[in-house]
Symmetry: C2
Subunit: 410 residues, 2 copies
Amino acid sequence: MNQPMIGRRNLLRLGLAAGAAATAAGSARAEELAVPEWSTGLGKPVLSPAYGQPSPFEKNVVRRTWTKGPLEQASSMTPLADLHGIITPNGLHFERHHSGVPTIDPDRHRLVVHGLVRRNLSFTMNDLLRFPSESRIHFLECSGNGNSEWAKPVRDSVQGTHGLISCCEWTGVPLATLLDEAGLLPEAKWVLAEGADSVKMSRSLPLNTLLDDALVVYAQNGEALRPEQGYPVRLLLPGIEGNMSIKWLRRLKLAAEPFYSREETSKYTDLLPSGKARIFSFEMDVKSVITRPSVGQKLTETGIREIVGLAWSGRGRIRAVEVSADGGKSWLPARLQGPILPKCLTRFTLPWDWQGQAAVLQSRATDDSGFVQPSRDQLVAARGVNSYYHYNAIQSWKVASSGEVTNVHV
Amino acid sequence: MNQPMIGRRNLLRLGLAAGAAATAAGSARAEELAVPEWSTGLGKPVLSPAYGQPSPFEKNVVRRTWTKGPLEQASSMTPLADLHGIITPNGLHFERHHSGVPTIDPDRHRLVVHGLVRRNLSFTMNDLLRFPSESRIHFLECSGNGNSEWAKPVRDSVQGTHGLISCCEWTGVPLATLLDEAGLLPEAKWVLAEGADSVKMSRSLPLNTLLDDALVVYAQNGEALRPEQGYPVRLLLPGIEGNMSIKWLRRLKLAAEPFYSREETSKYTDLLPSGKARIFSFEMDVKSVITRPSVGQKLTETGIREIVGLAWSGRGRIRAVEVSADGGKSWLPARLQGPILPKCLTRFTLPWDWQGQAAVLQSRATDDSGFVQPSRDQLVAARGVNSYYHYNAIQSWKVASSGEVTNVHV
């Protein structure tokens, strides 16, 4: 290994102490023990506001869009480089809308179950709250996440390359419970889920093991769903491409066949080199990305620092993440932060001693189903370059000796 | 058991289906499949706003205060009855300030370590971000949580009785790492932590096993700390009374003895019947509360519904929660939602068939250190009624045959 990565156990002995001392004062200077102006008078009272907001110094940590068209048919992306841990705060959850965010009165909203069922049902929000509930932490990823990387490495932030993923604690009722209430007829094999947005986003879901852990959710990170994530109720299909977790859910229609809606034929399919298209691909494949350091950042101090990033798989838990600083020639295992949950973001970390050398940082995740994140070459060999969705290749960040970090394909 | 609680396994068979059918239409009525007005045109575009906010229909789900005095020396409480799962969204985390919330420029803030150390250190926020990080989900509870219940059951919401607790994913540097950097002298046994609020909130922490899992944190639920939770950096002492997790942390001073600061002598102590006071009580004892149904709510429909609540312990994991509907005469085990993490909220649920009968709902938690939440009589027998802090007795909610839920001491 020609890059000095450091096992965590040996970190302090190996020199982080020296690194910190170099950046610290060595002794607490008088002005640092002096009283700053913000400590000299009363601060803001409680309830200012009653629903809290971030510090004004964090005003640049917001969702951003790269969409050129109308913002009602657009996505906004999560600022991954500025985030920590695995929970995405609700205000920064990525968005993807096809006809904007409807403003729905929860008291008047209904969820209807019909089609090949023993009896049609219509649920109010209060009905749903009375059912046995589940809370689980799962990522949600747009299948278009990373699609800019199919062509050239043009995006200049990890928010732009990978920000169509977020991770929340979701609470709701198992989909299976509601389908049991209605009583499936033997010929029911698929269910159409339809949203209350004006485009009536709809997708067909096969009634097989894919839906075992599906939830009809009304809460994210403890509170009611945000409008842009489907208020008052949405589907949440853990590990499945985000588009199928229908927001503003108004209808579940049971049927014998898929419906081949616009968004599962014209869109959300991948054109292969053979001319055929992958459809109904469902699970999001194993993937990871280094969020610090990442493209657009600049290292300004030499010494030991943490490399941190995120890994996830739609097929289960993350088993391992390896990190390379030499463009994939050699790898070291990263530390995984717990709890390591299925179909959930996993945070990985590894200390790295940067002394001004050029480097290419990469991460490679393996999930507990055995899938290993492919290199870009492997992915292109299998899928060609006509795909728009489902890009999960290893990402490369080039660190120049100036400290500048850029996005490269190697 | 004279109240019809229902094991989850038998729930559907026993009649939730009938309950749901009673409240559902039985068949999807034409008007419920009709297109509501919010589905007839474009909704709001992405980035409206770039940092997202709750639905306007949730405007009453906010922090509230019961403080009569100045709001800079006050608390605001988390609306537990409206929340789900275990994560508290950052905008609803409870507050407790002693001189208001300072507005701190993170680039100018310093954390100084001094006193009985080999070398004084001063850390910038960038310094802290370079250290190996930890992310963990922990509750934070003001030791005054529940203090209104020492006297009479006057508070009319679970937000008012128990809302001084919240639970987030916290990210930061182990306190031990920073103390190792400075190098403890052999005579160092305590550390004073001091905040940058103008009252300079300070508490003495013993350098023993209590601090094994302590963190110096800069993030909550993925993003930077909120100003009212200590932006840009605070202590986070898992399981310990909230007041000791010093916010706006500016100084750690190592010493041989505790400092006996105002907030650990005049305040945050409990006067016992003997006339002596408990001080340095540290761990928050095992506790639980039913959040739905809870005081101030009214049951309007008979049938099966979920009883849901929260349990926690400063000493470890929740092992079990039992629920009673007859004021403690009989108990049934509740289901615990995973992941069950140490020093973290645990959500419990149990279905209950309410047919208009009067009931007294209670929950009783046991932690994995063997502590069992006491009845009110047991707590008062041990501590008297002159305490202000550390109330952890079983809470009773009386359900009248009208469906009204009130706060009672039984």
